[in-house]
């Protein structure tokens, strides 16, 4: 299955780029700068998916003590950091021409930056523990605690201050977006989630091979 995901993600990403530049219309107010949204929004949504996978795999690891769940959490954790970083970078690039600044202490930016720091810490924790089983357990606990903290951080920072435009797709009412834009966005979200699944599967495979090689070296 992992193999089929590769070409499929490549196809979807190409289609997504084509839709973002060719099919979706220019934004009436922001102009072409707005097209960065087709990268920005799928990146953060995929990061949330990755954080969810870390949570589920962490609970499953503590429950079953099977190393394959630990590898799943490790692969998803790395990708969570990648996609959060991508969100921050694309947001910055969009913010400069739109808000006139690379960075501002707006609620969403702040909570996303906190997520970045927490999951960077998650990778750090994985790297500093020598004993693999202990490292897996610690990482699982941080994976659970971190994911529980995500909604709390979101609300606390939201109340603290906000300036970001409110969410336009994931909200109770119908999206306020041109149909063609929405199609391009959904296509890109599908492409990113597929890409995530592919990369996670590859990383998982690599971690399995590494574990096997280590086990063989000890024999």
């Amino acid at each position: 299955m992992g193999r089929a995901l590769g070409p499929l993600s490549a196809l979807l990403v190409l289609a997504g780029i084509a839709a973002a530049f060719g099919y979706a219309p220019r934004d009436a107010i922001q102009g072409n700068v707005q097209r960065i949204m087709y990268l920005h929004v799928p990146a953060i949504l995929t990061a949330y998916v990755a954080i969810g996978v870390v949570l589920v795999a962490s609970i499953a690891y503590l429950w079953s003590r099977r190393p394959d769940w630990d590898r799943t959490a490790a692969a998803a954790g790395e990708l969570a950091v990648c996609f959060i970083a991508l969100t921050l970078v694309t947001g910055s690039i969009w913010g400069k021409p739109t808000w006139g600044t690379w960075w501002t202490w707006d609620a969403r930016l702040t909570s996303t930056a906190l997520l970045f720091v927490i999951y960077l810490g998650y990778l750090l924790l994985r790297s500093v523990v020598d004993d693999p089983e202990r490292g897996a357990t610690y990482a699982a606990v941080l994976g659970i605690v971190g994911a529980l903290d995500v909604p709390i951080i979101h609300f606390s920072v939201q109340w603290w201050r906000t300036l970001h435009q409110p969410a336009t797709v994931l909200r109770p009412q119908a999206p306020t977006m041109d149909g063609a834009m929405l199609v391009a966005l959904v296509l890109n979200v599908a492409a990113f989630v597929c890409l995530f699944a592919y990369l996670a599967a590859r990383r998982y495979r690599l971690l399995t091979l590494e574990a096997q090689a280590t086990a063989r070296a000890w024999q």
């Binding site: 004993d131 941080l142 605690v145 529980l148 606390s156």
Partner: protein
């Protein structure tokens, strides 16, 4: 007393007795808190208005920084005398042990926080005595949240080499909601505003405490036995 509470009480009692006999933690933390007051004063200058407007933030910066030290010490004690092994060997549920450690850290930090608040009033010559009861309520709930997450990570990092650096790195981003809520509520307490204006922050702070005390009780066993 149910088994569970007895277990928690035993750990808390042990920590309190160790503290009463050695007095290392309480003395060092109290001293550190007063030292921080000096540093804040020197950094911000003698302007009273400026200090007063930043007071709530200064309180919680001091509490968090001293709290990280207190947590590190709490588990250094367990590590040095191989007490951790004894805790692991204790039969039955580990949730009680966790509650005991959280309570011990909370008690130690609350002591330090009282010293800090009183010293602030005296040294900065501020009239905050009327607000003290409400400040202590906020301090209690904020400290419980901090200790709930902190105990979990202090138990983890106690086993690692670079523990002094790693504990704050893992802990501080996770307790940002506590910082935001507690600073806002402390501001309300200092200004003498009614709690009703900050009801959402109370919900957030108490919710944080409940979520992470429960999560800690469920996961502490795994951390200890790893």
């Amino acid at each position: 007393m149910p088994e569970f509470a007895r277990r928690a009480w035993a750990v808390l009692w042990k920590d309190l007795v160790v503290e009463r006999r050695a007095k290392e933690g309480a003395n060092a933390l109290g001293f550190f808190a007063i030292l921080l007051l000096f540093l804040f004063y020197l950094a911000l200058g003698p302007d009273r208005e400026r200090i007063q407007s930043a007071l709530a933030g200064l309180f919680w910066l001091a509490f968090l920084l001293a709290g990280v030290l207190g947590l590190g010490r709490s588990f250094a004690l367990e590590r040095e005398n191989d007490c951790l092994d004894a805790l692991v060997l204790a039969p039955g549920d580990k949730g009680g042990l966790y509650l005991g450690k959280v309570a011990g850290t909370t008690a130690l930090m609350l002591g330090m926080e009282v010293v800090f608040i009183v010293a602030t009033g005296l040294l900065y010559n501020l009239d905050l005595w009327a607000a003290v009861p409400r400040l202590l309520v906020v301090a209690f709930f904020g400290t419980v949240g901090f200790a709930a997450v902190g105990t979990l990570f202090a138990a983890m990092t106690a086993q690692l080499r670079a523990r002094e650096v790693l504990l704050p790195v893992f802990l501080l981003p996770l307790v940002v909601p506590v910082l935001l809520a507690a600073v806002r509520l402390t501001e309300a307490a200092l200004a003498g505003e009614p709690w009703s204006g900050a009801a959402a922050w109370w919900q957030l702070l108490v919710g944080f405490d409940v979520v992470f005390v429960v999560a800690g009780m469920l996961t502490f066993e795994f951390v200890l036995e790893a």
